[in-house]
Symmetry: C2
Subunit: 339 residues, 2 copies
């Protein structure tokens, strides 16, 4: 039986609008935001009010449905509105493949009009919930006996519709009584680990401690971690994984320590159009996210920053990719074709 | 000709007191603090007002001299005061071997009284200045042609008396016109990279960008870094290096990318009494340093943190250790005996 971690879903459809929890306000405040236009949604995606691979897939889908509803109400060209919305959504965050996947899947039904597109968007939303849970069950079985897990960024309920990916696995393990402790990498610059993952684990009652991002490798090498589990924003045809900046350091350490490095992601994160990680566009964000904190400048005035949002973990460092329908072993038998 | 980066030395002796720059106030304010008792100095060390391997070696030495001065003025037992001061100083930060090295070297002359101890402390201070520069010259020659360097934490003028270790190398390379860009790892939780290293590089006019700690491995693997240069807090007999948390992730990435990982440290950081890295005591600091940022709580109220101050880089990942008198290649020919 599903229990919600969140008061409402991370992202949901409500009659003719999109409803999200504003993730920039957590954990201090649980603020629910109603979005009625695709521009409002694109803005929310850019500000990271809604974020995470699976939630972005749903956002892409619901965003196109939103545009169709508004165009229909105003007597506009529904088909044109849907296509233009999809184009806008895809550009909102370039590294996340799910965003484009969701938007395109709904826009492909533009000929069917508003009702066909809304129905498809809701189908994607519900499929996401089911996929989240399937990933959790499959991953938990794979990780049986590994009680101390390190995770990076937030691949939880807040990154999916209900359960998430990496945290879905941790949740199932916890329900089986199989977790001793989770190490939560804080995830600078925006602290999705310290703010969001720690909050979700607290809601679930899972024992956890926050560590700085630099601590992961040392903890792994000193034998205090049994497995690393993370999400993904895009997985290339050869198995290279783009995920939140800082991920590849944990993968390098896991390889040296001989513990599994597990990527939890829905099939929609696999991108057959990207040959290898080197052709994944890495989003570069505002340097002030690094130079400042909570509006306070920490670096000297004359200094600038390079703020890459993601890094690429080479396929040979990935023990397994767990999706809603299979386990892929990239170094051994990676096959991208959908099952 | 030496030019000062700082308005005064990081740590200095002034007639009968210790003078430091309060590093917790930088870069916002350049505050100079006068310390007249060993307890004031121990407190400054614990708060990280004075920090960095070489500066702590000098602090250990000057602290014992300080205790001798006070005991002498008050008609107390100078020898006993010096020995008790050395014991206090050693415990102030357990991982930093230089602190104990400096304190013990001065306390060993306790039989000679106040003047012998003050003279020895000043000798250690001046030797440190000379050693800083020698490390810079030797390291710069070793790194000729490597124009893009990543450094972690602060191993600069603020961590030594004048020039530092890792930043002394960068300074000499810059003076030779051989630096394109320095990547400064911000170094959570206390941001010594973003606050102190960026500030020093700015003072020297060295082009640099701050990155989050998790970004180092990705930058290295994507071919944007030619060498990693860091300091050290303790180097074991077998060549394992204890340094600021986050260091070993850069070392793992450097090994995979095939670029040099260089440790810059004075001979006094080599610890013949520690067999391997696994027997180095790793300082665990207040969890609130991780859970809060600039005094603002970022993690949820129910969450705790593990705040390890250092990690250990295994000797086989260290390309070279550069000291004031030699270059040691740990994976090939590491010999700890002093030259």
């Amino acid at each position: 039986v599903a229990r919600y971690v969140l008061p409402v879903r991370t992202i949901d459809w409500n009659v003719d609008e999109v409803v999200i929890i504003d993730q920039t306000a957590l954990p201090a405040a649980e603020r629910v935001v109603h979005l009625r236009t695709v521009d409002e949604l694109v803005d929310a995606i850019r500000r990271l009010s809604v974020r995470g691979a699976m939630a972005l897939g749903v956002a892409g889908a619901l965003g196109v449905a939103l545009a169709a509803c508004r165009a229909d109400e105003e007597g506009g060209n529904v088909r044109q509105a849907a296509e233009s919305a999809a184009a806008k959504l895809v550009k909102a965050r370039p590294t996340a493949v799910n965003l484009s996947w969701g938007a395109k899947r709904v826009a492909a039904l533009a000929a069917g009009g508003r009702s066909a597109m809304v129905a498809e968007a809701i189908r994607i939303l519900e499929e996401d919930v089911t996929a989240n849970r399937a990933i959790g069950e499959r991953g938990a079985t794979l990780l049986e006996g590994r009680r101390r897990i390190l995770t990076h960024c937030n691949a939880g309920a807040l990154a999916g519709t209900e359960w998430g990916t990496a945290l879905s696995i941790i949740r199932v393990l916890h329900e089986r009584g199989a977790i001793s402790e989770i190490f939560v990498s804080e995830t600078r610059p925006l602290l999705q680990g310290a703010r969001l993952t720690a909050w979700e684990l607290g809601q679930m009652g899972v024992p956890h401690r926050v560590v700085v991002d630099g601590a992961g490798a040392g903890l792994i090498l000193s034998g205090r971690v049994d497995a690393v589990v993370v999400g993904a924003d895009r997985i290339a045809r050869n198995g290279d994984v783009a995920n939140k900046i800082g991920t590849v350091a944990h993968a390098l350490a896991a390889r040296r320590a001989g513990i599994p490095f597990i990527v939890a992601a829905p099939e929609s994160t696999l991108d057959p159009d990207t040959e290898t990680g080197s052709s994944i566009e890495i989003e570069e964000r505002d340097p002030n996210e690094v130079l400042c904190f909570a509006g306070i400048r920490v670096a000297p005035d004359g200094s600038s920053a390079l703020n890459l949002a993601f890094d690429v973990t080479p396929a040979d460092l990935v023990t397994a990719i767990v999706t809603e329908s299979r386990v892929i072993y990239p170094s051994a038998d990676y096959i991208l074709a959908r099952p």
